[in-house]
Structures are given as structure tokens and as C-alpha cells.
Amino acid sequence: MPETVFSRPEALQQVTTHYCPGCTHGVIHRLVGEVVDELGLRERTVGIAPVGCSVLAYNYFATDFHEASHGRAPAVATGVKRARPDLIVFAYQGDGDLASIGMAEIMHCANRGEKVTVVFVNNAIYGMTGGQMAPTTMPGQIATTCPLGRDVSLAGWPIRMAELISTLRTPAFVARASVHAPLYTVNAKAMLKRAFQYQVEGTCFSIVEILSTCPTNWGLPPAEATAWLEDNMLPYYPLGVFKTPGGEDRAPLPLGGRIGASHAK
């Protein structure tokens, strides 16, 4: 008898996505889907899609969904959760969506301690609109609106959202993870699972920032994009848990050195 050893999570639709080769949105969708399945939440989960490359997330998840306006997913999530506290609500957002136009909504959602989960995909660029500079674009990184590279004297330094949110006094779970190599991906899933669990228990607001590649708009082949993330983003965006509702100290990800892309080259 053949045995199924690997299948699509029930929380994902049986469809192919529109994401570019080498983009990690698909991986992150899958991790969220697995976590929703493992916690048995599919039938009471409502997702909020952002404006950005993942705008069509509502076609990829097999859960009820809202499509939000650009940056406002945390406000929409607030509305859903306050109306129906029994639902499990997650917002899925890009870095332009969350850290630029939606800065106010994410900070206040976190500060009110809304019992929702935010999956924050940081690919250091505006993917959907064609590679413009994001608040998270790295110093010197070329984007279509900073053709000479991000000049920090004019555009400021990239915003570290996990750190910023973790300064709030309100209890929360705040972590940063990455999915550029399998070991990191395993950790990212563990972070997402904790984030959803806190919501299930009604404990606190939770957010997992996940570093992501954008080969198309970075102008790199997928393998090189992975290496670029490891070389440029990891040092600036440290991985780990930044805040827990119990207030324990920050725990850096117990993974050192280069174990991802450099080996894939």
C-alpha cells in the first residue's frame, strides 16, 4: 500500500501560486498552512491579505479571508477579532505594507495588544510595484527609486521592525526568522507556531518577521539571492525572539555562522 508521506496542508488551496522563481512567499504560505493545520484551526481562521505581492493570498489559503487596503491589515485584523474574538485572525504583510504606509496601524495594533498574529515578510524591497526602495532596503542596495543605492543620509537606515515593536510595554510575542535555508525554515515554522499558539491561548499580540528573497527585483538568480540575504540582511536583521509575553530576555537564534546559501553556491 502506497503511503502519503508529504502532502499539501489542508489550510492551503490545491492551486499553484503566481510567485516568481526563488521568492519565498510560497514557502511562508506553506509554513502558515502547516501551523494552522497542526493546531487544528482551519475552520475558525480568518486571514487578512495585504497589498503587495501576496495580495492574492486569499486564493492560496483554504480559510476565509479579507483583502485589506495597503498597510491597513492590522486595523482590519483588529476589526475582525473585536467583532468575533472566537476567530483566529492573522494578517500577512510585506515590508512596504507594514513598515512604510502601515506603520501606524502595526504599532497601534501591537500596542493595544490585539490578540492577532502578524506574518511579516521582509524582502527589503517593494516587490509588487517593480522594485522600489522600501523602509527595509539595505544601505547601498539598488532599487528603482534609488538607482545609485540607498543613501542613508537621505533615506535613513533600514527600519528594524521586530526591535521597534519589542520596545512597546504591552506584552507581545515578537520574533524574527528566515527561510533562506532549510534549518532556518524549521526555526521559522517553530516561531510561527508559537505566535499562533499565543493567540489560541488569548495571551497576546504576536508577530513573526521573516526575511525573504526577491530575486526578480534584486536582479539576482535565486541561489545568489539566497547568498545575498545571508551576507547582507542577516547581519543587520538578527534572528531570534525579541519579546515574549512573560517578558523574558531576548533569545538570539541558536544558529551561528553561514549554514545556508554559501553552501548552495
Binding site: 482551519r42 476565509d64 485584523a77 468575533r84
Partner: protein
Amino acid sequence: MAKKLMKGSEAIGEAAVRANCKLFFGYPITPQNEIPEYMSHRLPQVGGTFVQAESEVAASNMIYGAAGTGERVFTSSSSPGISLMAEGISYLAGSELPVVLVNIMRAGPGLGGILPSQADYFQATKGGGHGDYRLLVLAPWSVQEAADLVQDAFDLADFYRNPVMILGDGLIGQMMEPVEFKENRVPCKPLKPKDWAATGCKGDRPTNIINSLFLDPQVLEYHNQKLKAKYDTMSRDEVRFTEYGTGDDYDLLIVAYGTVARVCSTAIEDLREDGIKAAMVRPISLFPFPYEAVRRAAKKAKAVLVVELSCGQMIEDVQLALEGSRPVHFYGRQGGMLASPEEVAQKAKEVLAGTSQEVRHA
């Protein structure tokens, strides 16, 4: 229930509670602060939730999320705040979500002033946000009517799956009048179960998606046409207005809405004492506008006078209604200044004496 003396803002809030609305999201702005303040203490009494949003932008998106679950929800604001909600309102209309929005208008543009105005008529009835959409817009002239219209607004919003706006001014919000809430009120529209709501996808039902994105232009065109058909149905079925003195003969027809119409009704009485015959059509629904009623009532009159607390916005709908069949005159006050019955009567006399200049488009 016996009549109770209530401030307009409180009556609006209480009406929402009576309409079984348990959710309010909003941001403070004068002159409507008494509405969120009332909701913040009243909603917890009925097991509801009040959230002070970080901005009107957020508030408009919170009501979007809440309405998507099928629960009744409302927000209130005043002019600059409604401008900030414009994108959210467009999404609400595009996603066909039922919400009730209250705009207690203040004078603009910009930060303007905090006193009563009717200068958001265009914004409320012609768009405000982007894209082809309409709000159902209702304008009360008394505290009782505000309370009644708010309750109807929830039924209308649910029936049409469309945002409904209550357009008032600072006077409606601030004045105190007797109000009666009827027990066992019957909804003004039949209400269907909200099987479209995003409440968790049980079993193998297809997912419910609250959405206004249609990347395929043909599909979006169908969506636009479906919305248009809905607005056409509203235009056919939801026109509301009252007439004042149209049963008698008259030479002048006044068209005014909201609290200004009350001023005009006093002016009409004063004019009658002076032997001048005037009547009034008062639109209650601003979208849909009572074109036919204005057209019909104008037939008996020599001229039409539009009175507004703006530089003239509803007058364009009156002109559309009349199709040039009667001269149209305008009297307006702006900036938060009010029109007095004497001023309106004076203008009416000038119109009939031929010393007022008709409003014409070059």
C-alpha cells in the same frame, strides 16, 4: 417607550445600540465627540466593544474587518476625518460591506472650523473616495429623525450590502430634543442571513473572501455593472423626502435639507404672514436624490430657491432635476455661519421681485 430629552449625538449612539449594533471604532474630532464618548460607556453595558482607533484611516479599516464578519458596526466622524476614511469607504463599497457612517459636518476646506456646515454634500453623494461607487446618504433635520434614520440605516446597509452615511451637521449633534425609541421596531427592509461573511470556513464550503480586487478587466466590469444595478435599485426604491406647504398655491419653491430646512420652514411661515406664498421640498435621502419630487413641485412655482450651508452643492442636483424649466436661485452661508429665517425670507422676496440673480452655468 416614553419620550426622553436627548442630545443629538447621544440619540445617534443610542439608536445604533437599539439597532443591535455592538461595535464602534472611531477617532475623536469635534463636533461629534459625544458620539464615541457615549458609545464608550454604553456598548460595554450591552456586551459590545468600543475601540478608539489610532486614526480615521485605521477606524475605516477596523469597520471593514468587523463588517466582514457580518456583525453590525458603525463609526462617526466629522469632515476631515471622513476625508481620511475615503480610501476605506471605497473599499467598503467595492467589497459590498454593510456599515453605517455618521458625518457630522464641520466647515472646511482644510482644517476649516468646528461649526456647522453642509459643505461635504459632493463628497458624500458623488464619491469622495475613488472608483464608481455610491453611498446611500440620509440627512436628518431633527434629533428624532436622526435616531430613526440611524436605525433604518443599519437595515438598509444590510439589505443592500452597502455603506450608508448619515449626513448631519453640528446642530444635529449638539441640540437637545425629545426622542422616542419604539419598542419592537420592525426592520425597514427584510433581512437575509449573511452567508457571505468571513467567519471561518467550515467543512467543504468554499472560502468566503471579502475583496474588491478584480485583476481581470472583464470581471471587474461585471462587478462595476452589478454595483451600478444596485445603485439603480436604490434610486428607484429608496428616495425619501418631505414636502412643506406644497398642497397650497405658491410662487416660490425652496429646496433645503437638514437643519437648514427647519430654518426655511420658519421663513416660509413668516413669508405667508407677509402674503408671499412659498413651499419647500426637503430631501431626506441625498443619494438617491428626489429628482422627481423637486421637478413636480417646481411646476407650481415661478422660481426655485436652494438654501445650503455651503457655496452651493446640492443646487447642482436641483438644476439636474429642473432641466432648465425654472430659474434657480441660491442662498448660502459658509464657514460655520448659519442662515436665519429673516435672511431666507429676504432672499425669497428678492427672487420674486426679480432683484436676485439666477444661478446659471456659463
